[in-house]
């Protein structure tokens, strides 16, 4: 059989000990850490929220009620749809798209600069100064942002001092702090894939385009960006997924009116004590994000395999 043949050659190539370790580690990783938890989550999302005594009993049957709740609200709901939750859902996706676009605009020039302009010590220094701030943990960073964006924070004080404004701006309420925090949170995940993709671009192609009279804008539009497309897609996907699923930043930096969909999920799990409904909400977010990413990849003609490069 093909499988046993492959197994034999795999073990032969790597040695029994290393071969077995790799097989078991990969199996544990995929089955125990990725597939099983999601399957249980999926299973949960199709069940009623029953008291412990009734779990496994005759009333423990599959249902779509949790998904229905997200779309239509509770059975006694006056409105046709569950507008509150759906709008949070939509806003989260839109906000994640917005953050992704900000990151792309910020990181593409940095990545190009790192890959093709900065040389030697300058480049290493730049990379270090990008990486080291990430030693600061997410919570600490979020609260630090809260302080500098506060009514009497450094930014307001500075703006008042130089006379741009005379009243402090409420950056928290205006969600400026939130978007800044989210944009900053995953910047490395945008820079490095683009850097990777752009780095292998032959410099002569840029020079050839320039020699033929192309402006810098056109060189990037026609030569560099098409070449870096898989890296851009990879970076955008990661930033989008992680932003849509972010929790700490929205909770700490979000204004009083802003609600992230992940916060709703946590509410169902914790405060609401309704795990099946929380699972359904989480699965809905996951599917929406994956579908959106696949749709965008289709539009920009990128194959999934390219992202892995």
């Amino acid at each position: 059989m093909a499988l046993t043949g492959w197994l034999k050659s795999f073990l032969g190539k790597n040695g029994l000990l290393v071969g077995l370790y790799i097989l078991i580690a990969v199996a544990v990783w995929i089955v125990l850490l990725i597939v099983l938890p999601q399957l249980f989550m999926l299973d949960f999302s199709f069940r009623y929220n029953l008291p412990p005594g009734q779990v496994g009993g005759p009333q423990d049957v599959y249902t779509l009620s949790n998904y229905k709740y997200l779309v239509f609200g509770s059975p006694g709901n006056q409105a046709a749809y569950n507008w509150i939750d759906l709008s949070v859902f939509g806003q989260t996706i839109l906000a994640a798209i917005f953050v992704t676009l900000i990151d792309l605009a910020l990181c593409y020039p940095i990545a190009y600069y790192l890959a093709h302009v900065a040389k030697g010590a300058t480049g290493r220094l730049l990379v270090l100064s990008l990486i080291i701030p990430y030693w600061v943990n997410e919570i600490l960073r979020a609260f630090a942002f809260r302080i500098i964006f506060g009514a009497s924070g450094v930014i307001n004080n500075a703006l008042i001092y130089i006379g741009v404004i005379d009243q402090p701006i409420d950056f928290i309420r205006e969600d400026v702090a939130l978007y800044t925090g989210l944009s900053y949170a995953y910047i490395l995940l945008m820079i490095f894939p683009i850097y990777n993709a752009v780095e292998s671009l032959d410099r002569n192609q840029v020079e050839a385009a320039r020699d033929m009279g192309a402006s810098w804008l056109r060189i990037h539009w026609r030569i560099v960006i098409p070449y870096a497309k898989p890296g851009i897609a990879s970076g955008c996907t990661m930033v989008f997924m992680l932003t849509a699923g972010a929790l700490a930043a929205p909770q700490i930096l979000g204004g009083p009116s802003s609600l992230w969909f992940t916060q709703l999920i946590v509410q169902w799990f914790n405060t609401g004590g309704n795990w099946p409904r929380g699972s359904a909400y989480a699965i809905a977010l996951l599917i929406a994000c994956v579908a959106f990413v696949l749709f965008m990849m289709r539009i920009f003609k990128i194959r999934v395999g390219e992202i892995g490069r």
Partner: protein, 365 residues
């Protein structure tokens, strides 16, 4: 008289303390195929990048048809550069590659396509416009790169060793083709190469460069037959260098005392040797002939060490005293006289086929 196509006016290019190009003064005529020939690191690519505008001369000026190019970037200069690795755009089709320069200039798509098709005809690749670059062979890519450069109608086409990536057969074929294209479009070509065969076969004139300095400028035959310096003599083609002391100069004849006895050659009036000085006498492998028993002028007693048979030529490597690797080439014309490996062989050469030159660095290759 109209201004030369390209005028290099005492051009010096420095990188920090290092001088890559030193005081180059050359006028390149309109429609000329001009080559810069030299070993890697001699500054020829630096000079080409200065003409194309990717860097500025530290001292001196570059003028194209009389216009000073100082401060004019590569995107504005009337030059087009063909890169060593061609630098075709892999994500565009062949015709989009060719028409890229027109796209930059805002030419409408239908017109771009028409021009690309015209150029595809010119480079003998009709109907291949919709292919991707990766589907083409090495020689076809070469021609597409030329078409892409021609599309922007440059006044000067610059070529940076574009044939070096091809295999030998194709390279020889492309030499002929490049020369033919150049004559068809009548454009000024500046060609950079370390391959003297390429330079000799294609060029109207050649400038031989070494360590940032132009050693000699002239038509190929002149550079080959009448080298001005020891470097040119040893770099362009094979040459045997006999070292000795100049005993006598009589008119054009120079007599050197060498390890093989007195040898007679010609003076180069552009770089004359002086009596009493140490000097080289350069003799081409094809100028060495087997000597008859009664011929004593320029006679060298040698032993055949090796016979490299190339088909049309026998390349013999001879040992004679301290000269352990003299080279002698004789055509394979059926009348082979002597010269089996291990045999002794007396050789001679005509004085007019030997050039005496002052000592100087030899090409090491």
């Amino acid at each position: 008289m109209s201004a030369p196509a390209v005028e290099l006016d005492s051009v010096t290019i420095k990188f920090g303390a290092f001088t890559a190009v030193r005081d180059v003064q050359i006028d390149i005529k309109d429609g000329e195929f001009f080559s810069f020939l030299g070993p890697s690191g001699c500054g020829k690519t630096t000079l080409l990048r200065a003409v194309s505008g990717f860097l500025e001369p530290t001292v001196g000026a570059i003028r194209i048809h009389g216009n000073d190019m100082g401060g004019i970037g590569p995107n504005i200069r009337p030059t087009a550069l063909i890169f060593q690795n061609l630098a075709l755009f892999p994500l565009m089709t062949v015709w989009e590659n060719i028409a890229f320069g027109l796209e930059v200039r805002g030419v409408a798509k239908a017109e771009r396509r028409r021009r690309a098709d015209e150029l595809l005809d010119l480079i003998a690749l009709p109907g291949q416009g919709d292919k991707m670059v990766s589907e083409l062979s090495g020689g076809q890519k070469q021609r597409v790169a030329i078409a892409r450069a021609l599309a922007v109608e440059p006044q000067v086409l610059l070529l940076d060793e574009p044939l070096s990536a091809l295999d030998l057969k194709l390279r020889q074929h492309m030499r002929t083709e490049l020369r033919a294209i150049q004559q068809r479009v009548g454009l000024t070509f500046i060609y950079i190469t370390h391959d003297q065969g390429e330079a000799l076969t294609m060029s109207d004139r050649i400038a031989v460069m070494s360590s940032g300095v132009i050693e000699q400028v002239g038509p190929g035959a002149d550079v080959y037959d009448r080298p001005d310096t020891a470097f040119v003599a040893s770099f362009v083609g094979e040459n045997n260098a006999f070292r000795g002391r100049v005993q006598e100069i009589a008119g054009e004849d120079v007599r050197l005392e060498t390890a093989h006895g007195p040898l007679v050659g010609r003076l180069n009036p552009r770089n004359p040797v002086r009596e009493g000085d140490e000097a080289y006498l350069f003799v081409r492998p094809e100028s060495l002939k087997p000597a008859e028993a009664d011929e004593s002028l320029n006679r060298i007693e040698a032993t055949v060490r090796q016979d490299e048979f190339e088909g049309s030529f026998h390349h013999l490597i001879l040992a004679a005293g301290e000269d352990e690797a003299l080279r002698m080439s004789s055509p394979n014309d059926g009348g082979r006289e002597g010269g089996r490996e291990g045999e002794s062989l007396a050789v001679r050469f005509e004085p007019k086929r030997a050039v005496a030159l002052p000592l100087g660095p030899l090409a090491t290759e």
